[in-house]
């Protein structure tokens, strides 16, 4: 669960990125966050990941009160969140399998668990036959699926997808969002930041529109897909 209570962020440059934002995303929700650039979408995500702290107000993520969370405990918070980036951020020197296993290694998971869990998530995103390939040998859509598998692998409660379709063909974009929908149906909360209105219109669901640091629209809209 993600909850913002009167959250404001003012950067040291004097820019007000968020202004008294109130927002609640329940477990199991799927929400699109839309808005033009500079509206505060990135700030919102940075707050959830505790890359930055709110200037005022309270942010609660998966039971952690972020204003009270000490630096040393941040890894604990982040282990409950999976992140997918626009530019994939796969490690080019590692195979698909290694890229995903890497996540489990750095959170000190048992080797045996890694050996069974990684092939499973690779099969979920349909890349079993590519597990020994390197990222550069894959298409953009495939790379983003690897990134998705990586976000999934430690079974997070919440997945944040930051413009996950921004760098891939429109046709493949739908595929990615459908995968996210599928993951959501298994109980994972999904927050997807996007500015592709076609996708939002197609899938529908909860849409949160940020405009100049304020939520201007937050409603559930029916999509064409249903």
């Amino acid at each position: 669960m993600v909850e913002f209570k009167d959250v404001s962020v003012t950067y040291s440059s004097g820019v007000d990125a968020l202004n008294k934002v109130n927002l609640k995303i329940n477990d199991g929700d799927f929400a699109f966050i839309v808005g033009s650039s500079g509206a505060g979408k990135s700030t919102l995500i940075k707050l959830i990941l505790k890359e930055i702290d709110a200037t005022s107000g309270v942010v609660t993520v998966n039971g952690f009160n972020l204003s009270k969370l000490r630096r040393g405990k941040v890894p604990k918070l982040r282990r409950t969140i999976g992140v997918v980036f626009q530019d994939f951020r796969l490690i080019p020197t590692m195979t698909v399998y290694e890229n995903i296993a890497f996540v489990l290694r750095v959170i000190d998971a048992p080797a045996k668990y890694i050996r069974s869990r990684v092939p499973y998530v690779i099969s979920l995103v349909g890349l079993t036959d590519k597990s020994k390939a390197y990222p550069t040998e894959l298409s953009g859509g495939e790379q983003q699926r690897v990134a998705l598998a990586r976000a999934l692998v430690n079974d997070p409660k919440l997945i944040i997808a930051d413009e996950p379709t921004g760098n891939i063909d429109p046709a493949l974009s739908y595929e990615i969002v459908e995968l996210l929908k599928g993951i959501n149906e298994c109980g994972t909360t999904i927050l997807m930041v996007t500015h592709e209105h076609d996708i939002v219109r197609h899938f529908g669901g909860r849409i949160i529109n940020l405009n100049k640091g304020v939520i201007s629209f937050d409603e559930v809209v029916g999509g064409k897909a249903k």
């Binding site: 941040v74 890894p75 982040r78 999976g82 080019p92 996540v103 750095v106």
Partner: protein, 301 residues
């Protein structure tokens, strides 16, 4: 931390050395040179102190007493000298004894010549050894100032020279150590910065998926430590080589050096363990501290 994770981290450390081999080699060289210079100057100073203490044991100052003083005056003088803080041992050597041993050292001709001398021209003396040879001149001055002392003779010029050499070496070694430690830390932290940069993508992802700071830092730490230990191993080998070369020169050319007590030099074998341990610890520490400075500064985890 699991064994499998530890193995993974150590592996990452090794890989990173190879990936940044130019910078690793630079760190290796600088640690090697530093250890060598520091190690050799410490060994030199160690041997010099040994030589000096050898001379200290042997070197005596001779206190000549004025002629014709009474028994009480002499006893008072003995007490005065022995209570000086730096005086170790004091033995009285009467003019008769001195005469006897002098005559024994003479050639037959000289003995014949002195046979008829009815008056003993030698003074009564004390032979004195000191605790700290570096304070020899101070002690001699104190004794000279006492009543009934004719003169004090001590082998100061040679020991003074040795002592000033030792002092210079000590100062130089300290300066070298400080400068080199600084240079080492700078170079190593640069190396680490290069390998942090090379692995920035991995580190970024590690941060997002919730790796702890320790987990992110360990490979760099290990990288620094391995480089340090490798350099220490090499330095040990080179030190042995250099030391034994010098040792050989001093121990074969007796005519010159034996006089100075050079047979007292430590053999490398007797120092091996100490050198090994201090090199290994110093190498590993320099490597590890160097990396942690820059991981703290550049990772911001």
């Amino acid at each position: 931390m699991r064994v499998s994770s530890m193995r993974y981290l150590v592996g990452q450390g090794f890989k990173s050395i190879w990936k940044n081999r130019m910078m690793s080699f630079a760190s290796f060289c600088i640690i090697l040179v530093s250890l060598l210079m520091v190690g050799l100057s410490v060994l030199m100073s160690l041997n010099l102190s040994k030589i000096i203490s050898g001379i200290e044991d042997k070197s005596e100052a001779i206190v000549q007493i004025k002629d014709g003083i009474t028994e009480e005056q002499r006893e008072k003088l003995t007490k005065d000298i022995i209570t000086l803080p730096n005086v170790n041992e004091l033995t009285f050597y009467s003019k008769e004894e001195a005469w006897k041993s002098m005559v024994e050292d003479m050639t037959q001709e000289e003995q014949d010549l002195f046979k008829y001398a009815d008056d003993n021209p030698l003074p009564d003396t004390f032979k004195m050894t000191v605790i700290d040879i570096t304070k020899m001149s101070e002690t001699t001055a104190q004794i000279s100032a006492l009543d009934n002392v004719e003169s004090v003779k001590s082998p100061t010029s040679f020991t003074d020279m040795l002592i000033s050499i030792q002092r210079v070496i000590t100062i130089i070694s300290i300066a070298i150590i400080l400068a080199l430690v600084l240079v080492c830390l700078i170079i190593i932290s640069n190396t680490t910065r290069a390998s942090v940069f090379a692995r920035r993508k991995e580190i970024n992802i590690m941060k997002y998926v919730g790796a702890t700071n320790t987990f992110i830092k360990i490979p760099f730490f290990i990288e620094g430590m391995i480089v340090g230990i490798l350099a220490a191993g090499c330095a040990l080998f080179l030190t042995k080589f250099a030391y034994e070369g010098v040792y050989k020169i001093f121990s074969t050319d007796f005519s010159l050096w034996a006089v100075l007590g050079m047979q007292n030099l430590y053999s490398f074998d007797s120092l091996f363990k100490a050198v090994l341990i201090s090199y290994a610890i110093a190498g590993a520490l320099i490597g590890a501290i160097g990396t942690s400075i820059s991981t703290g500064k550049h990772l911001k985890v």
